[in-house]
Structures are given as structure tokens and as C-alpha cells.
Amino acid sequence: MIHEAIAFEVSYWKRWKLNFVGSYLDSVGLLFAIILLMKFRSPSASITSPEYAFFIIGFLSSYLTTAIFSRIDTPKNYAKYDIYDWIVSSRTSMLHVLVAERIWVFLRYVTPGFVGLTVYFAVLSVPLKVYFICVTLMMVGWVGCVGFNLILTSLGLLYGKIEGASAWLSLLISYFMVGIFFPVTMLPFKLWVVSLVFPATYAIDLSRHFTLGTELILPSVKMEITCFAVLVVALLIVGLHLWKRADKKVRRGELQF
């Protein structure tokens, strides 16, 4: 899988050099723009004040969990280039390629995420132990997002035509549902319940709790960590199960891309 991920990265670099550099910088740029906006709103606030810290940790955590990059149109993209069949017949598998793509996204967006988080935690003087706890939480969150992405991809193959719009819609929804900009407790109850299926929600919430001491969305740390772990495992299991079904459907020739 690492081979495939590196191949993605190298090929992307060769094709769109400017875009490639941009993708490393866009998170930093976006973060900077939002901090500027917040500065206009409350000029006296410093970068270490709670409202800044709340947002910045949420934003960087979401990058590390790659929560906002759940795409469901990958198989269609391969079918567009007519290489879907070739990949299936090769020594790798479409499942490997999908996970490799997640690793690729992770490598791409996590680099600025890690740098940003490390610098910011240094500014906040966060203990090293908490830093490693947060990084672990985000890595586990990423694994959960792989499962989540597999579920979306498989559902797209099983039950509907995969259009670019729906692919990006899932991305947009997850952007506002995992508590990057505001606590998920501010969401209407029904949406709050939905937000609990995103692994990033827990990763972000727990990271904030350990660094800033904010309130948790569930009654205790133990309960939230348990829920988080169970969710990640469940997402992976359901994702793999659904993918097997979707793959079988493709191999039965029942899917016209």
C-alpha cells in the first residue's frame, strides 16, 4: 500500500507541480485567513486565548484525521481512465488502492497539520505527554476515516450513481459536522446525533479536552475514548464488509460506470 501511495504522490507532483505545492500550503493559508478574521472580530484577543485555541486545535486536528477529505468517487475516476479492470487484475487490489489513496491524502495534508500542531502546542506550552496523546488520537481518527471513506465509496457503488457533486457534498457536510468551527453540542439534537458517526468528532473533542480542558460531548473521558475506539473498529469492519459487497457487484458486471 505504501508503494501505491508513493506512486500517487510522485505522479501528482509530476502532473500538477503548482497544485502540489498549493496543497501543502492551503491549510496554512486557510488557517491564517481565519485567524485574521477572528482578529478583526476581537482585536484584543491573543493567539493563545481560548477562542483561538479552540478553533486552531479543531482545524489542525481535522487535517490530521483527514476528516474533510472523504471522497466517494475514486472508482469512477479509475473507470473514467479505463484502468479499473487493469487494477483489479494486477497484484494489488482496488481495496489496496482506495486505502493507498487515503494514505496519500494523509501524507499530503498531514504534513502541514503536524507542523502546525507542533508549533502551536509549543506556543501553548502543552506538555509532551499531551502532545503524543493528541497525535495518537488523530492517527486513530484517521484510521476511522479510512473506514468511513470505504463505507461512502461502497454505498456509492451499491446504491447509486457516483457523481462528483455527491462526492463533494459528503466532504462539505463532514466539514461542518465534526466540530471544527463550533462545538458539536451547538448543533440541533438530530444533527448532533449524526455528528457522532464521524470519528473526527471524537478525535477533535478529546484533543481539545486534553489541551484546553474543554467539556466533553459525552459524560466521561473513559466513555468517550471507548465510544471512539468502538466506532473506529466498527467503521473499519462495516467499511470492509460493504466494500466486499460492492466489489462483488462490480465483478458480476452489474455496474456500468
Binding site: E4, I6, S11, S89, S90, T92, R252
Partner: protein, 308 residues
């Protein structure tokens, strides 16, 4: 043990009443080239896709190097190379040859120094080394096909599936592709080729199968076929369509003549010389071509036999 074997393979696509493959059984010996011949839509690509583990059969079984393509798909994928139909469009057009090979080789776990060594050797062997940094879209059709073939063999598979490797190519590109396939056979690879170009099959194959509407009509070695048709001739008549019926009617009177094709008329003939002499007397303005039986003639005969 056969390198490639299918047993009563049937494939019915969802929403289609007619099977794309119907109890198709073929066998291909290790180290040989097997050509699957048939018209468009006959079921050639479906057969190859099932053997390459891309498609699941509705019923029946397929084996590659003894591995079941459904239950042991992972093992099959370790030992095969696949050149899809229209292979030249299944490669990234806006990437260079090198980048394409690098990307697709990674999918077969060929990376780093191993990739560089293998890619360099193959690109040099197939005269593409100088062009390695050119975009795929800027290559000629023949070069694109060569790149696609290199992509399919870079991981040194034992068994190759080539789905219409020469279709849409000009004469030179076709000859280059054919010599590549022949070289692969010399290396001991087992190759299954699908084509509707009889000259390609005749040049490459050790054995052939003829498929029509998903059914295998014939499967035998080329040598056996040639022995079977030794002493028989193919007669082609060059004429306008207005006299076709007359010519066919004339030749039908002879018991040693079989109609292969009506327009333009082509016949399978025993004791050819005398009949042709008589035909030339009767149709003095027409041109006749008498030659030994080719695979194309046999193909037409098999198709006609089923029709009648």
C-alpha cells in the same frame, strides 16, 4: 496440467436474457499461444475478463495455472499480465511513458531500483528509451501499444492475456506488436490472445478456439487444423454483386465444393484444378484466385456449419 482452462463457463449479465458466454470450455497448454477468434460481441473479452479475475462467472469454473479464478483470485493475480482491449486509452494520457510505467509498476509491487532496471531494459528492448520522457498522448498508436504491453509484462508474469492486441493498429505497428508477442512466447510465457484478425492468429497461435454468441464452436491445434485441410483449396472469385448468385449456383453443383462466403464469393474446394478450369470457361471475364486453405477459410466454414 493446462496453464489456462475453463469448464462450462457461463456468464449472463444482469438485465440481459442472452448469455454472453454459454458453457464455454477451452484449454491452453503451458508455454503456448492460444487464440480465441470471434466476431465483435462473441464473448472473447468476457472470457478474458473472467480469466483475469475482473469478472465473476455466473456458472462454471475457470483455472489459471491450476488456480480457481474465483476462489483463488489473489494467487491468479500474482502470475498474470493483462492487456485490455483498447489498452492505449487505459493509460494516463497527460503523463510521460516513464511516469505511467512507474505508477502501474507500483500496482504490481515493482518499485525503486528494481523498477528502474526493468523499465530501462524493456524500454531499450522495444526502442522507447529515447522517448521515455515524452507525454503518452504525443506517441504514435504503435508506440502507445508497446507501452501498454510493457506495462503488462514488466512484472514478468508467467501467463499473459492480450485482448485484441493489434486492433486499430497500422501495418508497421501491428508487425512490431506481433514480434513482441512472439518474443514473449520464446521466453516460455503462456499467452491467450483474442482477435478477429485471422492473419494475426495464424501467425502467432499454437492452438485456436472459435467462439460465437458465447459458444465455443471449435478448439484445436493449428497443426491439426492444417493437416485436416491439407489437399483442399480456397477459391475466391472477384466479381460484382450482380453475378454472385450465378456463381454460387454454378459451384453448388459440385459435390466437392462448399460455399464459404456468398458476397464476395469464396469456396472450399477439393480437386480444385478441374473445377476452376470449368469455371474460367463459363465466366471468362472474371478473375479467380486459388490458394491453399487459410485460417480465415476455416473460420468461415465453422461459422457456416453452425448456421446450416
Amino acid at each position: 496440467m493446462y496453464a489456462i482452462k475453463t469448464c462450462e463457463l457461463t456468464k449472463v449479465y444482469r438485465g440481459s436474457e442472452k448469455p454472453a458466454l454459454c458453457n464455454a470450455s477451452i484449454q491452453c497448454e503451458k508455454g503456448s499461444i492460444f487464440s480465441l477468434l470471434g466476431e465483435n460481441g462473441a464473448g472473447k473479452t468476457t472470457t478474458v475478463k473472467i480469466l483475469c479475475t475482473v469478472l465473476l462467472p455466473t456458472s462454471g469454473e475457470a483455472f489459471v495455472a491450476g488456480y480457481n479464478t474465483v476462489e483463488e483470485a489473489e494467487k491468479v493475480r500474482q502470475i498474470i499480465g493483462y492487456l485490455p482491449q483498447k489498452a492505449h486509452v487505459s493509460i494516463f494520457f497527460d503523463w510521460s511513458i516513464w511516469d505511467n510505467l512507474k505508477f502501474f509498476s507500483a500496482m504490481n509491487n515493482i518499485t525503486g531500483l528494481t523498477f528502474k532496471t526493468l523499465a530501462k531494459t524493456l524500454l531499450k528492448e522495444y526502442n522507447l528509451w529515447e522517448k521515455r520522457n515524452e507525454l503518452f498522448r504525443n506517441l504514435s498508436g504503435g508506440m502507445q501499444q508497446r507501452v501498454a504491453l510493457i506495462r503488462s509484462i514488466i512484472h514478468d508474469p508467467d501467463i499473459l492475456f492480450l485482448d485484441e492486441p493489434t486492433s486499430g493498429l497500422d501495418v508497421q505497428a501491428r508487425l512490431q506488436t506481433l514480434s513482441m508477442v512472439e518474443a514473449l512466447k520464446k521466453q516460455g510465457k503462456t499467452i491467450l490472445v483474442t482477435t478477429h484478425q485471422m492473419d494475426v492468429a495464424e501467425r502467432l497461435s499454437d492452438s485456436v478456439g472459435i467462439i460465437r454468441s458465447g459458444e465455443i464452436l471449435l478448439q484445436t491445434s493449428l497443426k491439426t487444423l492444417k493437416e485436416q485441410y491439407q489437399g483442399k483449396y480456397s477459391l475466391e472469385v472477384f466479381c460484382g454483386s450482380s453475378v454472385t448468385d450465378q456463381i454460387v449456383a454454378f459451384f453448388r453443383e459440385f459435390s466437392s465444393v462448399e460455399v464459404l462466403h456468398r458476397c464476395p464469393p469464396r469456396f472450399l474446394i477439393w480437386d480444385g484444378e478441374d473445377i476452376v478450369k470449368e469455371a474460367r470457361k463459363k465466366f471468362q471475364t472474371l478473375e479467380f484466385s486459388l490458394r491453399s486453405v487459410s485460417l480465415e477459410d476455416i473460420y468461415l466454414k465453422v461459422y457456416n456449419t453452425v448456421n446450416t
